[in-house]
């Protein structure tokens, strides 16, 4: 088909051609730009850090205490705190604490101090911990102690007299390997022991200097625990640009303040309240401007997101997974003391067991759980048996829940949280072994599941506060950040609203594709740029026919789950048709059996469409092996023996790409490759005559068939790419001026 070049004008972006009459393209782009610029004007970051607000309060002599009109909460009980001299004493680490309660009437000192587990998955809050911020850089590396390697013991042949000889030989082999490692370690030890004293001395000097903050121009970064996988938390960086932290820790320990009423509804602009006397916070420490909590919208269970921010752009989020509510908990347990002393000998068992291989009667209510405690106690106690109530969790035939609540005594007081083996007898049949959590009673029951993490709805209303205190402080933190957020109830979410932007983009993309397809159906001429590899495909097939040699089509080593393999199958159909028309032969070796069956059908269909169904040879499309390099070796063998004139590599390739391409080049075949594996593209480009790069592989079926519907989807693809490039361009400009609204727009929420 000819292309009237006078009708089309190519703009300087390669691969993106716009016809003269496509004025609407620029209109769309212009509208997008005009929409984005006002957003930039509106979404300016808000005011300064809150330290300026808190700093005046501290300088007035009521450090840490923020007084509100009409609400002198702690003023009468908190003695005056004099401003300490700002002499550098030592570096103090500060941490955030999260306080939790389901009863907001409790005084803040009686709220639970919770741990923050840096994970986004279901997790149960356990012991109190923290995440905090401290000086990190530079940190001299401790060379450690000098440990001499130990020589491995040679196995005695007499010990293996009654065993097969291979076992002794294997033992000797392992010993020889271990001895070689030992010799290498000895060499390394000898050289390391010479330099170790020097390293140790250097480390001590650097550590001393580091502790004394004598590094010049040192920038201290305060951020959360370094092992935090939650990237959001890492964004909440408290950056100090001073050389050292000046803090006086010579203040006395805080006294017991007694019961302090919780002031709910405190306005957000009074962020910090001191609970007891405490040294002042660093003057340039950025405190969170706001702290709130909400039900997570992207989980299938009862998770609550705790969020705080220091500015509009810094957000830290962690997750709290509340425990399921107890069904028959007596009310007296709720009145447990603040610091109960639990009996180490009392335990509670909650067990959830797998029973996939047992037919569970619908009316089953009798499960016998046998807990083998001998492994724990070790004092000859007989296994305990008790019957529990069937709580069916999940599918009735998949797993069963045994919920037993009772106490029994174990003599060993050291037993804490252990996982022990448990078997359940259900309707007289034994199940697989399950897991049973044996945990101490701390005033509230705890449960553990050995099914996939499942969090049921929690009907409690949860309240949180954010506190700040020094690293070594125990108990309620002395600075509490007030917030007026109401309590939150965790609930199951049917839809993950954190991915709303992904859904929106996909829907818009689909609309664009369908629109272009509809235009194609109406007969609009759609231009597609030339792709050299596809243009020469017919020529390559003709070459093979003239030479009387077969065509080798390698559909990659991916499975049918890979889109690249599907694209390869689409190309195979077109190629098979051409091969049938030319009366040639095509060989298709496969690594995956499912891909082989699809390839057989596609090839056969291609021959049928060409009108030569009798020429199709099913044996030419075959399975080789599922092993990567075995497949490579086999295909190399085919190339060397059958000497195809044309080799097509289409689909997903990995490390074997260069081996295949080079072997094919060595046989003198013309090679055309197409893959979306970025790391293999250089190899194909080097060794093959033509290469389809990335999306050209997906455009191949449309390009070869020239079907209007497929061409329409191709144009939709190009339009989406143009829009993304426009967003990129605008986003780069905005980011240069410190505005990341576009990057946040494309990030998923969490």
């Amino acid at each position: 088909m000819g292309i009237n070049k006078n009708r089309y004008r190519r703009i300087p972006l390669k691969g993106f051609s716009v016809s003269k009459g496509r004025w609407w393209t620029f209109l769309v782009l212009g509208v997008f730009i005009l929409l984005i610029l006002p957003i930039f004007a509106v979404a300016q970051p808000e005011g300064d850090s809150p330290t300026e607000e808190t700093q005046p309060a501290m300088e007035e002599g009521t450090e840490g205490l923020v007084e509100e009109a009409g609400e002198p909460v702690l003023e009468d009980v908190v003695p005056e705190i004099s401003t300490p001299p700002m002499d550098p004493v030592e570096t103090v680490k500060y941490h955030f604490f999260i306080l939790h309660t389901t009863d907001p009437t409790l005084p803040v000192q009686e709220w639970d101090i919770l741990d923050r587990f840096p994970t986004n998955t279901s997790y149960t809050w356990q012991e109190p911990a923290y995440f905090g911020f401290w000086k990190t850089d530079p940190n001299p590396e401790d060379p450690g102690e000098l440990v001499e390697p130990t020589e491995p013991e040679k196995p005695d042949e007499a010990d293996f007299a009654d065993l097969p000889k291979e076992l002794y030989q294997e033992a000797i082999g392992r010993y020889e390997e271990a001895y070689k490692e030992y010799e290498d370690d000895l060499e390394g030890f000898a050289s390391y022991s010479e330099i170790h004293p020097r390293l140790l001395e250097e480390y001590k000097q650097e550590k001393a200097a580091f502790d004394q903050d004598t590094y010049p121009n040192l920038m201290h970064y305060y951020f959360f625990e370094r092992d935090v996988p939650n990237k959001k938390a890492k964004q909440a960086i408290y950056k100090l640009t001073v050389d050292q932290v000046e803090i006086d820790v010579s203040q006395p320990e805080p006294v017991d303040m007694g019961t302090v009423p919780v002031e709910s509804g405190a306005p957000i602009d009074t962020p910090v309240e001191a609970v007891g006397p405490a040294p002042p916070l660093p003057s340039d420490l950025k405190l969170p401007t706001e702290f709130w909590y909400e039900d997570r919208t992207n989980d299938g269970g009862g998770a609550i997101a705790l969020c705080w921010s220091t500015s509009s752009s810094d957000n830290a989020i962690t997750t709290y997974i509340p425990d399921p509510p107890p069904s028959d908990e007596p009310e007296e347990e709720k009145e447990a003391p603040v610091e109960p002393e639990y009996d180490l000998n009392k335990f509670e068992i909650n067990a959830w067991l797998y029973a996939p291989d047992v037919d569970v009667p619908a009316d089953l209510d009798d499960i016998t759980l046998t807990v083998d405690l001998r492994r724990l106690g070790g004092e000859g106690e007989a296994p305990l048996e008790f019957v529990g109530i069937v709580d069916k969790v999940g599918k009735p035939d998949y797993n069963l829940g045994l919920h037993y609540r009772g106490t029994f005594t174990i003599a060993d007081p050291k037993i804490g949280k252990h996982l022990i083996r448990a078997k359940a007898t259900i309707a007289g049949k034994k199940t697989r072994q399950g897991k049973v959590s044996l945990q101490k009673i701390l005033g509230a029951p705890v449960t553990m599941s050995n099914t996939e993490d499942s969090v049921s709805d929690n009907y409690y209303t949860h309240y949180f506060k954010l506190g700040i205190d020094t690293w070594d402080h125990e108990g309620t933190p002395r600075w509490i950040i007030q917030q007026d957020s109401p309590g939150v109830v965790a609930s199951t979410n049917i839809w993950n609203w954190a991915k709303w932007n992904t859904l929106l983009i996909v829907i818009l993309y689909m609309i664009g594709i369908f629109w272009f397809i509809s235009r194609a159906r109406k007969g609009a001429k759609l231009f597609v740029r030339r792709i050299a590899g596809l243009d020469h495909m017919e020529e390559a097939i003709g070459r093979a026919t003239e030479m009387g040699k077969p065509i080798l089509f390698v559909p990659g080593i991916g499975s049918m789950a890979d889109v690249a393999t599907i694209a390869a199958m689409n190309i195979l159909g077109q190629v098979a048709r051409k091969v049938a028309e030319y009366d040639s032969r095509i060989i298709v070796p496969n690594k995956d059996p499912i891909v082989m069956t699809v390839a057989q059908e596609v090839t056969q269909e291609g021959f049928i469409d060409a009108g030569h169904p009798d020429k199709y040879n099913r044996d030419d499309v075959f399975f080789l092996t599922e092993d990567q390099f075995s497949f490579t070796a086999a295909v190399d063998g085919i190339m060397v023996r059958d000497k195809p004139a044309t080799i097509l590599f289409m689909g997903m390739f990995y490390a074997e790409s260069l081996i295949l391409a080079e072997t094919g080049a060595g046989t003198g075949a013309i090679q055309i490759a197409g893959t979306d594996a970025l790391h293999q593209l250089p190899f194909f480009i080097t060794a093959c005559d033509y290469t389809l790069i990335g999306e050209e592989l997906y455009a191949a079926s449309a390009y070869l068939s020239r079907e209007p519907l497929l061409l329409g989807s191709l144009k939709g693809q190009d339009m989406a790419k143009a829009i993304i490039f426009a967003f990129l361009f605008v986003g780069v400009i905005l980011a240069t001026f410190g505005n990341d609204i576009l990057s946040r727009l494309f990030n998923s929420l969490s």
Binding site: G300, I594, I659
Partner: protein, 260 residues
């Protein structure tokens, strides 16, 4: 099914996750049956080669022999653990070797046994690999040792795999020799960049100029990364478009059907 797959991506409920797991399991089951078809295809392919005595038919015999040998060796030959009393009389080295070869673990203290049990149960592994201290019992532990199959794997299969993989180094050298020639301006740029990258990755480059490694990192992390990401964007869009075409039946070539 395509629409369901899209919905499952956006739904975090346990039902959706369970359905997703079920779909994955279905795929594995289909793959298992497809493997039977694949093996039949392979054997049939080589049978025809043998029957027609095409050049290279000797390799087809090797295929048959290798397959039969692996299957037979895998099914046969196992030894069982002796009675606990006899096992207890073995030396620690002998006991440990037998247990290590079979993925078991020998514990020599109560605390370690509890700890290992916990660890195995935490990972949903049955504690069959842990043997009690002599005061306890073996609990029906069985050790299986397939010597010939492991010998075949360790000394034939793995070296051959390593051989194929090691060919890459030589092929890279030959491909670089062919590709890095200054015939065109683009090829010259490629040649110069390749030389700079190679120098930056070896110690001598740092000796020549101490900033070489940083320069090569910059090449990788800035211009090269930019181009890779651009290609990735195109690939991603292409994948979505192809998937949409398949889901909505616009393209059915892969099923053996036409586009309309």
């Amino acid at each position: 099914m395509g629409i369901i797959g899209i919905i499952l991506f956006f739904s975090p409920t346990q039902t959706a996750q369970a359905l997703r797991n079920d779909l994955s399991n279905w795929g594995r089951i289909i793959l298992a049956f497809a493997m039977i078809v694949g093996i039949y295809s392979l054997l049939n392919h080589h049978y025809h080669k043998l029957k027609r005595k095409v050049p290279g038919w000797g390799y087809s015999i090797i295929v048959y022999v290798g397959m039969i040998m692996m299957v037979v060796c895998g099914w046969t030959y196992k030894i069982e653990l002796p009675e606990r009393e006899e096992f207890g009389t073995w030396s620690p080295a002998k006991q440990e070797l037998l247990l290590k070869m079979n993925g078991a673990r020998f514990v020599d203290s109560e605390e370690e046994r509890v700890r290992v049990n916990d660890e195995l149960l935490t990972r949903d592994l049955p504690p069959k690999g842990v043997i009690d201290t002599p005061e306890g019992h073996l609990d029906g532990l069985e050790i299986v040792r397939r010597v010939p199959i492991i010998w075949l794997y360790d000394f034939i299969f793995v070296p051959m795999q390593a051989t194929m993989f090691s060919l890459l180094a030589f092929y890279i050298a030959s491909a670089a020799y062919r590709a890095f020639r200054a015939r065109t301006p683009e090829a010259t740029v490629l040649l110069v960049t390749a030389i700079l990258m190679m120098l930056g990755r070896v110690p001598i480059g740092e000796l020549i100029w101490d900033k070489f490694p940083q320069f090569t990192d910059w090449i990788l992390n800035t211009p090269s990364m930019a181009v890779m990401r651009a290609i990735l964007i195109g690939v991603g869009l292409g994948m979505i478009a192809t998937s949409i075409r398949i889901i909505f039946g616009i393209e059915r070539t892969y099923m053996g059907g036409g586009g309309d």
